[in-house]
């Protein structure tokens, strides 16, 4: 084979390797970054609609990532969990503005509470219509479901949903009622409301100060 032919075959080979690198490394990374940008936009929209949620998502996402790593999640699953956290309240866009913004939740009527509780189901339904992120629908739908759900025949929420629930409610209680009450809430609910493994990890982080919002 002539030198010229070798040179050109090498050039084509290098070009092909470059393309493969782009296809398997750069393209997934870039797509992921774009999707995460879109998901951040959802989170921002919800926070703008309900200012009392402002800043919560970032704190919950950080805590959920730490808990997931302690539970042995790999980078890919941690990333998916992070997206679920950011998408969890997307259904709030269908909840009346005044219900959430004008009166504190302890004053809500049963009917208003039921309306608010729809947001998980609505969020799941919205996500199911978007193929790129539909895999998060189950987690979003059950992110307020208790660990034990006798009314659904004992079916458990997804493990991601259990992490999201424990982290989101811990952060909510810590912010509104103080860290001690948040720890009490988690301890009392472990095994019934919260997955005991998840609750244990959140409590460990809370006691070392890493989970304080």
């Amino acid at each position: 084979m002539s030198e010229q032919a070798v040179f050109w075959i090498a050039l084509i080979g290098a070009f092909s390797v470059g393309l493969l690198y782009y296809r398997f490394v750069m393209l997934p990374w870039a797509t992921d970054a774009r999707l995460q940008g879109a998901v951040r936009a959802f989170g921002r929209a919800v926070e703008l609609r309900f200012p009392n949620h402002s800043g919560l998502t970032e704190v919950v996402a950080r805590l959920a990532r730490r808990v997931a790593l302690r539970l042995g999640y790999g980078p890919r699953k941690v990333r998916d969990l992070d997206m679920s956290v950011r998408l969890r309240d997307i259904g709030l866009c269908a909840i009346p503005y005044r219900l959430v913004n004008r009166r504190p939740w302890p004053e809500w009527t049963l009917s208003e509470t039921a309306t608010y509780d729809c947001h998980a189901e609505v969020g799941g339904a919205i996500l199911e219509t978007i193929p790129a992120i539909s895999s998060h629908a189950d987690t979003v739908r059950s992110h307020h479901a208790p660990f034990v759900m006798p009314e659904s025949g004992g079916r458990l929420p997804t493990f991601d949903a259990r992490i999201v629930k424990a982290c989101a409610e811990f952060v909510w209680f810590a912010r509104h009622k103080g860290i001690d009450e948040a720890i009490d809430q988690l301890e009392q609910g472990a095994g019934t409301v919260y997955d005991p493994r998840v609750a244990r990890e959140v409590l460990r982080l809370a006691r070392t100060g890493e989970a304080i919002p």
Partner: protein
């Protein structure tokens, strides 16, 4: 038969018999082989890449797109064989990039013209005409044929001529060149480009679907706005084209117009739907939807450029708009376009009054146009109003 297929059928009916007749008369082709040197592979590869990726990037330099310089380089430096080979490969990659969608009209036309061009080029080369000259003659012949028989949209399109003629020359060249081995070597990166481009298309679709969900979120909160945003997006794009914006820019205006009210997610729907006059506090709350919309879209890198248009789509040329009170040229032209399209749709209640706002009775499109022209220079940009009128007339005709 649809309007699209009639010209295709006419073209096929006239060209195919000609091709068959010439095939019967075709003499043996000329011996000719392509050079294999430094640019022989690089230029075609670049041409193929540019053909495939320009679609994805939505970058276009007129009908020739980015592949043209490389194809031109192939043609000048290497002769038609490589130029045409790159063109064919680029076309296949471009087809992949577009997700394999086929226009049967184009395919029929291309097939008929290809056969015609192949016979003509081989015939000319066999009687001693150089391959380059044969290529030129085929181009002219196919172009003229398209003028005679095909639809107007094909007649004026250079690629529509270039592609079938190129395909014809490629097959002729391959037959003569005996360069099958090198073709296979070059096919590896070509196939990889196509595959990668297809993956890129899939990734783009995922992101697009997610962005569309933003519009869906808005629809959940304020159902009446769905048809409104689609109408505003369509007429805004058309207005942008009438103002001389590049097609890619006009597409961005379309996208921005679809998302222009996304900030209303963060506004109390009872105030948005309130009949009658708003209190100053309520109006101040409603005005936040423009910066809110920009803040939401700023999270998405590829929409950062349009977030400014959304932030300023309620600014007025006389400086009395919001949120910043910008005036004249300080307001991006794209924001001015969205402002005009949005205001017209709001005034007319969806052109036929079927979607009237709770706080305003709809008026006829004619009255709305008169009103907008009255406000040109103060509330609206006069050039944009003028382009909008033209766009509206064009849309009503179509």
């Amino acid at each position: 038969m649809s309007a699209m297929r009639r010209p295709a059928a006419r073209t096929a009916a006239l060209l195919i018999p000609i091709v068959c007749l010439m095939a019967l008369l075709a003499p043996a082709p000329l011996p000719w082989s392509p050079p294999i040197d430094a640019v022989a592979l690089l230029l075609p590869i670049l041409a193929v890449a540019a053909s495939a990726w320009s679609d994805y990037l939505r970058i276009s330099l007129g009908p020739w797109r980015l592949a043209a310089p490389f194809l031109g380089g192939c043609f000048v430096l290497l002769g038609p064989f490589w130029a045409i080979g790159a063109l064919v490969a680029g076309r296949i990659c471009g087809w992949w990039v577009r997700g394999g969608r086929i226009s049967w009209f184009s395919e029929t036309y291309d097939l008929a013209a290809f056969g015609f061009g192949l016979i003509v080029s081989l015939g000319m080369m066999s009687i001693g005409v150089s391959s380059g000259a044969a290529f030129g003659v085929v181009l002219v012949l196919v172009w003229r044929a398209s003028h005679l028989f095909a639809a107007r949209k094909v007649a004026g399109s250079i690629p529509a001529v270039f592609v079938p003629a190129g395909l014809a020359m490629a097959v002729g060249g391959l037959i003569e060149a005996g360069a099958i081995g090198w073709s296979i070597v070059a096919a590896v990166p070509t196939a990889l480009i196509g595959w990668t481009a297809r993956e890129q298309t899939t990734a783009d679709a995922k992101v697009q679907q997610t962005l569309q969900a933003l519009a869906l979120m808005l629809q959940r909160a304020h159902p009446y706005t769905h048809a409104h945003i689609e109408r505003v997006a369509r007429i805004a794009e058309r207005t942008a084209l009438h103002l001389g914006l590049a097609p890619d820019r006009a597409k961005m205006v379309h996208e921005a117009a679809r998302l222009h009210d996304v900030g209303k997610i963060a506004v109390d729907e009872q105030i948005l739907d309130k009949p009658g006059k708003l209190t100053p506090d309520e109006y101040a709350h409603v005005k936040l939807h423009a910066p809110f919309g920009a803040a939401i879209l700023e999270e998405i890198e590829e929409l950062r450029s349009i977030s400014e248009w959304i932030r300023f789509h309620h600014e007025r040329p006389d400086g009395t708009g919001y949120p910043k009170g910008l005036s004249g040229d300080q307001i991006p032209i794209e924001a001015k376009i969205i402002a005009v399209a949005d205001a017209f749709d709001a005034m007319t209640g969806g052109y036929d009054g079927g979607e009237k706002r709770p706080y305003r009775d709809p008026i006829s499109p004619q009255l709305a146009l008169v009103e907008m022209e009255r406000c040109a220079g103060t509330q609206f940009d006069p050039d944009v109003v003028s382009a909008f009128r033209e766009a509206l007339m064009e849309e009503s005709k179509s």
